[in-house]
């Protein structure tokens, strides 16, 4: 789960990482109230999960309440690369002497944590990495050892930050590492990390990606959830606990396992169709999960054919079949189903489906044949839709 900037800053604050005083606002009046509390001048920042907010006019400096009013009313409702701004973060504007960069993430090749620190903050780190790779001090951290103060100090020296920033940066790096590890983040990033003319170091931005697998030990994450803006299809899938990614095509995909689901999308594409989604029902799915998956696919108006591709391992064929039968009884499916069922208890599953087979539910022996049939069904339904003008 990606956090908004203000959520990231709230998360940072839990770990003692200094951020500018500020607060969230959903209306112009709230923005003024937050600005009064934070102290002028303030920065009014659009809360959207997309880069380039500043260039789009989503970040503005305000010297007084009138300016806050003007900027807040301009920014609220603004569309930044398809993301509509519904919330602002208003914080006290900091004087900046120097801008740095700091982050922690997992280096999958090294199988260790990777810290990156640079004296060149405030710009895209990818750009720094490309143009001036030596400007980034990298530190691999063994997860068993963790980050020690000595290691952090040596690392800061290597990054050649302004000497005035050393103590403050060491302190923040140690806290940021705790936020990354104890806070179960996949990524924590501060860009820019600033040094003020008074010699204080603090985080001016916050990028945090939480590891959804760790949500069982973080009940406090619930408060971050309701505010994520989601595709309605994603929302329903999330409610049902399914791994779903909405795509643009008209062939609804249900598969078990991420790899098979990806492969199913690819094969549909190769035989001339377009997948409407990626949906992985996971391992060991019950009949209910299958029925839920069909409900999610059915909520997508673009879907003209449904391709269910199951290769049972931990997932059992009879559960899949029972789920399909259950869904057929419970919901009016908008599109015909083509299923390919193999693996654990596939025979039992096919036997359960046999009496229900029709032109609305077909079974095919291979992935390729099933994909071709699903794509043919989807494209056959297009002229009808155009001619009839119905849904």
């Amino acid at each position: 789960m990606d956090l908004f900037e203000y959520q990231g800053k709230q998360y940072f604050a839990r770990f003692g990482i200094p951020v500018s005083p500020g607060g969230v606002a959903d209306t112009v009046d709230e923005a003024v109230a937050q600005a009064d509390k934070a102290g002028y001048p303030v920065v009014v920042k659009a809360q959207v999960q997309v880069g380039g907010r500043g260039k789009a006019g989503g970040i503005k400096l305000a010297a007084n309440a009138d300016e806050v009013r003007t900027h807040a009313s301009n920014i609220l409702g603004m569309d930044i690369k398809g993301h509509v701004v519904r919330r602002l973060w208003v914080e006290h504007a900091s004087d900046i002497a120097k801008e740095f960069y700091a982050s922690f993430t997992l280096d999958r090749s090294a199988k260790k944590h990777l810290g990156m620190l640079s004296a060149q903050g405030g710009v895209e780190i990818e750009q720094v990495a490309e143009e001036n790779p030596d400007a980034i001090a990298k530190l691999h951290i063994d997860p068993v050892d963790g980050l020690t103060e000595d290691a952090a100090r040596a690392w800061v020296a290597e990054a050649r930050l302004d000497p005035q920033a050393t103590e403050g940066t060491v302190d923040i790096l140690l806290k940021l590492y705790r936020c990354y590890v104890d806070g179960d983040a996949d990524l924590v990033e501060i860009n820019p990390l600033i040094l003020t003319p008074e010699g204080k170091v603090h985080a001016l931005d916050a990028k945090v990606t939480l590891d959804d697998n760790a949500s069982f030990r973080h009940p406090e994450w619930d408060e971050f959830r309701g505010l994520q803006v989601m595709d309605p299809r994603d929302e329903l899938a999330h409610e049902k606990g399914l791994q779903y990614v909405g795509l643009e095509g008209d062939v609804g995909i249900i598969a078990n396992g991420a790899g098979l689901a990806m492969s199913t999308c690819d094969v549909v594409n190769q035989v001339g169709g377009q997948p409407a989604n990626f949906l992985d029902i996971g391992g060991g799915a019950s009949a209910q999960v299958m029925a839920d998956a069909l409900e999610v696919i059915n909520s997508d108006e673009n879907v003209k054919a449904i391709f269910i591709n199951i290769f049972g391992g931990i997932t059992r064929g009879e559960e899949v079949a029972n789920g399909i039968v259950q869904a057929l009884e419970q919901v009016e499916l908008r599109a015909p189903i083509v299923i390919r069922l193999d693996g654990t208890n596939a025979e039992e599953g096919r036997a359960i489906l046999a009496p229900h087979l029709s032109d609305r539910l077909q079974s095919k022996p291979t992935m390729l044949e099933a994909a071709r049939e699903a794509v043919a069904l989807a494209s056959a339904s297009v002229p009808e839709r155009n001619a009839g003008g119905s849904k």
């Binding site: 997992l106 999958r108 090749s109 199988k111 260790k112 944590h113 990818e126 063994d142 997860p143 068993v144 590890v181 179960d184 996949d186 590891d211 697998n213 760790a214 069982f216 030990r217 791994q243 990614v245 795509l247 598969a255 078990n256 396992g257 991420a258 790899g259 098979l260 689901a261 990806m262 492969s263 999308c265 690819d266 094969v267 549909v268 594409n269 190769q270 997948p275 990626f278 992985d280 996971g282 391992g283 060991g284 290769f311 049972g312 391992g313 931990i314 193999d342 693996g343 654990t344 291979t366 992935m367 390729l368």
Partner: protein, 294 residues
């Protein structure tokens, strides 16, 4: 021959008294795998359809001489279970658990590397390993695998692993060992570990490798193949149609920036002399050609 496991491998199932552990543990046993015990803390002394259950791996190893473990416990308990097996001296641990937090996974991997260098972890979030006709640990449906060889299989995704076995069986091609390494960010066993083992195994004459988007494991494997492999390799990479920045189910399957795309992986593999199929069936067809020419 086979790699990592064979007919002599003695397996204990951690979580044998749970529903998944029981279903798949007993299925492995029915396949012919030597499933000699189970481990569930607090349930020592019980049995599951004749298989004795112990409180800890150490007790199970002492009583049964087990040299492999099948970890089938929930994400919260899995890191502890893996380390319990390693502490008991078990050299080969298969963990099928899906959804272990990445921080725990990184800690377990590095703890094993440092304190238990003789232990190999396969997974987590993997389907397991099958040396057809000899040993099946995990959730692979045994009936889709044809025994004998000459092909070794390694795959990141579980269900694509089955697809690979199935494609080969349809063509009458046998498999020495099929290893599912799992789709998590920190897999205990890598593509390279498996390629190395297949290169060393005299009965494996060719290798089929199924990858997916995310990370750089396929690119690293390509480098290894170019430098170290004498045996032919056929590959398939899933996720050509995956959009950047979205996790495709597996925690590891995400295209970040310009890195980790299916195209980049296929290019790297082709440059290493690997034949790349555009879907699992095409990869199977390519392997059939390779086997014919052996």
């Amino acid at each position: 021959m086979s790699v990592f496991v064979d007919e002599k491998t003695k397996v204990i199932v951690q979580g044998l008294t749970g529903s998944q552990g029981k279903f798949h543990g007993l299925r492995n046993k029915a396949y012919g795998t030597q499933v000699v015990g189970g481990v569930t803390p607090g349930k020592g002394g019980q049995d599951v359809e004749g298989v004795p259950v112990f409180d800890s791996c150490a007790e199970a190893v002492k009583a049964t001489g087990a040299d492999a473990s099948f970890v089938a416990v929930p994400p919260k308990a899995a890191p502890g279970a893996i380390l319990d097996a390693a502490e008991a001296g078990i050299p080969f641990i298969v963990c099928i658990t899906e959804g272990i937090p990445a921080q725990d996974e990184a800690r377990v991997f590095n703890t094993l590397a440092r304190d238990f260098p003789g232990t190999r972890l396969l997974g987590p979030n993997c389907p397991g390993i099958i040396s057809p006709g000899k040993c099946n640990i995990g959730i692979t449906p045994g009936e889709i695998a044809l025994a004998g060889g000459p092909v070794g299989i390694v795959s990141r995704s579980g269900t694509l692993t089955y697809q690979a076995l199935y494609e080969l069986k349809q063509k009458g091609i046998g498999v020495t060992t099929c290893v599912g390494i799992g789709g998590d960010p920190v897999p205990g066993t890598s593509f390279i570990d498996c390629l190395q083992a297949f290169e060393a195994d005299p009965d494996t004459k060719a290798v089929i490798m199924f990858g997916e988007i995310g990370g750089s494991a396929e690119e690293e494997a390509a480098q290894f193949i170019a430098k170290e492999m004498s045996k032919p390799v056929v590959a398939y990479v899933a996720g050509v149609t995956a959009p950047p920045g979205k996790k495709m189910g597996h925690a590891g399957a995400i295209i970040s920036g310009s890195k980790g795309t299916a195209q980049a992986k296929m290019d790297a593999l082709r440059a290493a002399g690997v034949q790349v199929g555009l879907n699992p069936t095409e990869a199977g067809d390519l392997m059939a050609e390779v086997v014919k020419s052996l």
